[in-house]
């Protein structure tokens, strides 16, 4: 902008000196650029791929240890265009993660609300809940397989076991964070327990539940895949084991990439849900500080 702009003349001091804010520094300009990661992510990925390719060429590694990036890319394209991979593996894992999450939401949010509302219940139930978390959960997989078989059920339980804890902790914390004045307000309005829950506690806790969901969706994915890995007949974890046994290392990389994209997609759905479910919350509002 020039100083001759008639509509927005720069303010002046009493001595007539023009006052303008200092121009933003480079780091401020970068920070304020919404599209920054749209430039930096591809750039960093490209750098990584070049380094990978150079390393493979220079060291002349066996393709059974580290295949070249283009070989991995080719396998990856083959894999994601293969309906068998979708129907058998991706769908199975997706089903397990979704069912596991559903179970975790019912258990985690339900128990979290009870723990948050009742200090008595908290003191009675907490030792048992913590016990489910301090046991190395991977060690439970053989037990679940023994009880529920090699099918999806054992993985659903595993996913739920991993995912319910962050939901429970966040939910109970959220319920407890409802300000005393909010309770007072509902009391003065003669709210019933039910009204208090629907109109105050639940909306107030929603951001906490969604923060728990971000952790839970990642944990559920890990739970399902580890379960398949240790004893399954289908799913992305089982797929990776098959590829390893067959020494199809380029496809193994492709499978890992599919798992990463799988997790990324689920995570994005959850963060997207924030905008729908809690559009009023600070974490969703555009940042106001420069």
């Amino acid at each position: 902008m020039t100083t001759t702009d008639q509509r927005h003349p720069a303010p002046t001091t009493s001595s007539g000196q023009q006052l303008r804010p200092p121009p933003p520094t480079l780091s401020q300009r970068l920070r304020n650029n919404r599209w920054l990661s749209f430039y930096t992510s591809p750039l960093l990925i490209a750098l990584f791929l070049v380094a990978w390719k150079v390393y493979v060429e220079v060291t002349d590694l066996s393709r059974f240890v580290l295949p070249a990036p283009e070989a991995v890319f080719k396998s990856f394209i083959e894999q994601i265009t293969d309906p068998f991979v979708w129907q058998t593996h991706i769908w199975t894992t997706f089903y397990e993660v979704m069912m596991g999450l559903a179970l975790a939401i019912v258990l985690g949010v339900g128990l979290g609300l009870m723990i948050g509302k009742s200090p008595l219940f908290d003191r009675i139930a907490r030792p048992f809940i913590v016990a489910t978390q301090v046991v190395p959960k991977v060690a439970l997989v053989p037990l679940f397989i023994l009880w529920l078989g090699f099918g999806p059920s054992s993985k659903v339980v595993m996913a739920a076991l991993l995912a319910f804890f962050p939901l429970l902790i966040n939910t109970s914390f959220g319920v407890r964070s409802v300000p005393g004045s909010m309770h007072d307000l509902m009391t003065t309005l003669k709210a019933s327990r039910w009204e208090r829950f629907w109109r105050a506690d639940l909306p107030y806790t929603m951001p906490f539940i969604l923060a728990g969901m971000e952790l839970a969706v990642v944990q559920a994915t890990i739970g399902a895949i580890v379960g398949e890995y240790l004893g399954g007949d289908k799913g992305l974890g089982r797929y990776a084991v098959n590829l390893q046994n067959g020494l199809q290392v380029d496809k193994l990389f492709g499978a890992i990439l599919i798992m990463a994209l799988f997790g990324f997609t689920l995570y994005s759905v959850v963060t997207g849900a924030r905008r729908l479910l809690i559009p009023w919350h600070e974490s969703v509002q555009p940042r106001r500080t420069p």
């Binding site: 300000p179 307000l185 003065t188 309005l189 929603m206 509002q285």
Partner: protein, 265 residues
């Protein structure tokens, strides 16, 4: 006829280490219909506790509070209006929806709600804020919204717990003038807690000064300054004399407070 009758109310809290703390001791007070009463006193005198007991947020250990005429439980079909220190708006509700909350809970229909919300928002001077979210408003505006909410269901009694304590001095003066205007328009019975002497003198028909250890009524002062009172009147000799007298009393009460532990030790 008295709108609120406080009869021999005492309140004891269980303190740390098994000790009990007497917050209020044998407080009796009659508040007339349409009267503006200010509870004034230093911190720790139990003025907020008394307000919360009147508002049924606490129950008295001894004594009782009667609203209108009759037992408060029986006569409690219409909730009180309560304005808290913080605006206590629900951040997920728009300004209008916040004001509508008491109406929703009373089962008022949508059309009537919208009408009432608009009326209340213009009463508090925010006719254009209906669709804004609370975090888009300033502290003073938020407190105006909370006053609109407290008045939305047309309560007979409005209880206010240091509602302007968190605001800066200029905004506070303006809000006091606004509150007086609103009160003159609808003449609710108001019980207002503050520790600001000038706020008390500006607003009150009657100032109830509370003393500490334990909380009790120290004095009751009628304020006969004509209404509507203006900010210019706060400079008048009458206003200043009253304020000086009340400050002297607060000093007395606090000195009391400082000496007591030394005596009992």
């Amino acid at each position: 006829m008295s709108a609120i009758k406080v009869e021999g109310v005492s309140k004891v809290f269980a303190g740390a280490g098994g000790q009990s703390m007497v917050a209020l001791s044998d407080v009796s007070l009659d508040i007339a219909d349409g009267e503006f009463v200010v509870l004034l006193g230093p911190s720790g005198c139990g003025k907020t506790t008394l307000l919360r007991i009147i508002g049924q947020l606490e129950s008295p250990t001894v004594g009782r509070v009667r609203l209108d005429h009759g037992e408060r439980q029986e006569n409690a079909d219409r909730p009180l209006g309560f304005v808290f220190q913080e605006a206590t708006l629900m951040p997920w509700r728009s300004t209008g929806a916040n004001v509508a909350l008491p109406l929703e809970m009373a089962g008022v229909g949508r059309r009537e709600r919208t009408e009432k919300v608009r009326e209340m928002l213009s009463l508090v001077g925010l006719p254009d804020a209906e669709n804004k979210l609370p975090h888009q408003l300033s502290g003073g505006m938020r407190q105006r919204v909370s006053i609109a909410r407290a008045l939305a269901h047309d309560p007979q009694v409005l209880l206010m717990d240091e509602p302007f304590g968190a605001l800066d001095a200029q905004t506070r003066d303006m809000m006091n003038a606004e509150l007086q205007r609103i009160w003159l328009e609808n003449r609710k019975t108001v019980v207002f807690v503050t520790h600001s002497v000038s706020e008390a003198v500006f607003l009150a028909d009657r100032i109830v000064m509370l003393g500490t250890k334990p909380g009790h009524i120290h004095s009751i002062t009628e304020v006969t300054l004509p209404r509507p009172r203006t900010l210019a009147m706060t400079e008048s000799a009458e206003f200043r004399a009253l304020a000086t007298e009340l400050r002297r009393q607060i000093g007395e009460v606090q000195q009391d407070n400082d000496i007591r532990p030394a005596v009992s030790a």
